[in-house]
Symmetry: C2
Subunit: 348 residues, 2 copies
Amino acid sequence: MFENKSSRTELEALGEFGLIKHLTQFINLKNESSVKGVGDDAAVIDYKNKQTVISTDMLVEGVHFDLTYTPLKHLGYKSVTVNLSDIYSMNATPRQILVSIALSNRFSLEAIEELYSGITLACDRYGIDLVGGDTTTSQSGLVINVTAIGEADKKNIVYRDGAKESNLLCVSGDLGGAYVGLQLLEREKKIFKENPGVQPDLEGNDYILERQLKPEARKDLPLIFEGLEITPTAMIDISDGLASEILHICTQSGVGCNLYEEKIPIDPMTFNRAREFNLDPTTCALNGGEDYELLFTVDISHYEKIKDNPDISIIGHISDKNSGCNLVSKSGTVHPLKAQGWDALLKK
Amino acid sequence: MFENKSSRTELEALGEFGLIKHLTQFINLKNESSVKGVGDDAAVIDYKNKQTVISTDMLVEGVHFDLTYTPLKHLGYKSVTVNLSDIYSMNATPRQILVSIALSNRFSLEAIEELYSGITLACDRYGIDLVGGDTTTSQSGLVINVTAIGEADKKNIVYRDGAKESNLLCVSGDLGGAYVGLQLLEREKKIFKENPGVQPDLEGNDYILERQLKPEARKDLPLIFEGLEITPTAMIDISDGLASEILHICTQSGVGCNLYEEKIPIDPMTFNRAREFNLDPTTCALNGGEDYELLFTVDISHYEKIKDNPDISIIGHISDKNSGCNLVSKSGTVHPLKAQGWDALLKK
């Protein structure tokens, strides 16, 4: 759909070392902590007296992305930001990434450069150094594994297990957009397959398409917390859907919660397109996933500081474990909260 | 060939989170630096005043391993040790790993447990904590990505670019075994495919088979260096073959070298089996790869300390750049050293 076939250089012409050299030749290390980057057996990092925070994620073609409608540059960008999101959700600052890529020779050098340009764009925007990785062949699909490394003062790190009774349950940004964007792309793919002459009708849907194809990580949240002098008691990023993430926090913290449907932030475009697809916008927010917003709990004493913050919605509160995890619907009825989020192993 | 079909639990029965929980339930953190392991958005590591050393590697089915003759337990073990090898080759101590696995539902829970038992066995033997990872689906092949993290005092870290003129060129252990082991496995696979009734004839070849299927990382070398009060000037692990690694050191250090064929350590079993395959044992050592021995250079003043060490062979010396990188054959003729090692992108 978005393919560009202007030129093609075969990867065989470069070889593995040549490809790595070609792709990494313009890397300049930006962070003082990046002592040694690409080009040795391992990268060397020096955080002095900070703690190291580290996370890894694998993206597999046909499972996490569909190259029919995913531009490679966006894919590279997304593969970085979804990992940075894990570091921000620890209230830490990402500094370095390592990227492993497996690809078959159906990809040209130009295609890999596109992918790489998205990776380096994300590195530039987020102030990250690409310090290592691995480049190898696959027999069919494209696989990308990113490891993100960050730093934080011990006292600032926020885990999933610190939520306390009467804490406020909060979320950044708005939810459900990435999932509705995916539905739109899947619909246009289907139409395109049936009628290859028809151009995809994606106009006017930029927001939800970007939420799906080129999500940002909430780099600003740790800074907002710092400015407001707040340390969340628990935090997690929303990759599998709001419901699944709330249950993670409640299970690991040994608490219950009440989530108020009417408080869940949903963008008008997400809402309208969801309705056009006969989808319940709340369900999209609860179970759609891939929004990469941050879900967190804070002490109720911080209520005044956050209640009018445009980047934060208070969507519920933490209760005792015996009360369970509940969704209070717009009509006031109470349902047990269930995770029906994206489950990789059921998605066959 | 080595398959075990005693029982089979479908992965769908567990789901992604269930699988992760099942596999990681018995993990106990061993290292003081492992502050937080599996179970949050990211792992947290505290090396205090040491530097962090980090490396990542991807293993792809059909490219790096063949499940026809690779027991899953060995594969799990190897996927860890080949990464640890990168950390040891920086003269650092590995402490943690993160493991990402993509698998299709042709694998049962029992199969993944086998793979995982190899991973945890390697962790136990090398004193490593498994602190994070990702588990996802693939549409066909198995992909494993391991990120290894270690620590070192700044002054002890050894890079590839420090080799100096008149340094001794040394290698640990012996070379070529992993490659000859692979030839043996490939031969038996071919026979097995043509005559499924014939049992594979692998007896008496344990050493070279283990070199291929279940290689160890040279954990002892950094300790030997410490004991002898030696810091190598440059070091690299042998994954692509001796020739390729020597050229990496020489290129990055801006030097030349003379490598003496007669000094290259080759185990008698490797030598004999290579000859049976009509392979030149020296070529197997130079270009076979996957031996995971350490290649390093040391100041000539350390000659007395290492000349009789049973774990170390002095195989040549570093010269000036203009002399080039040369192989001095047993008959005394001099050839330019060429890397014809395993090149992932040419291996289609």
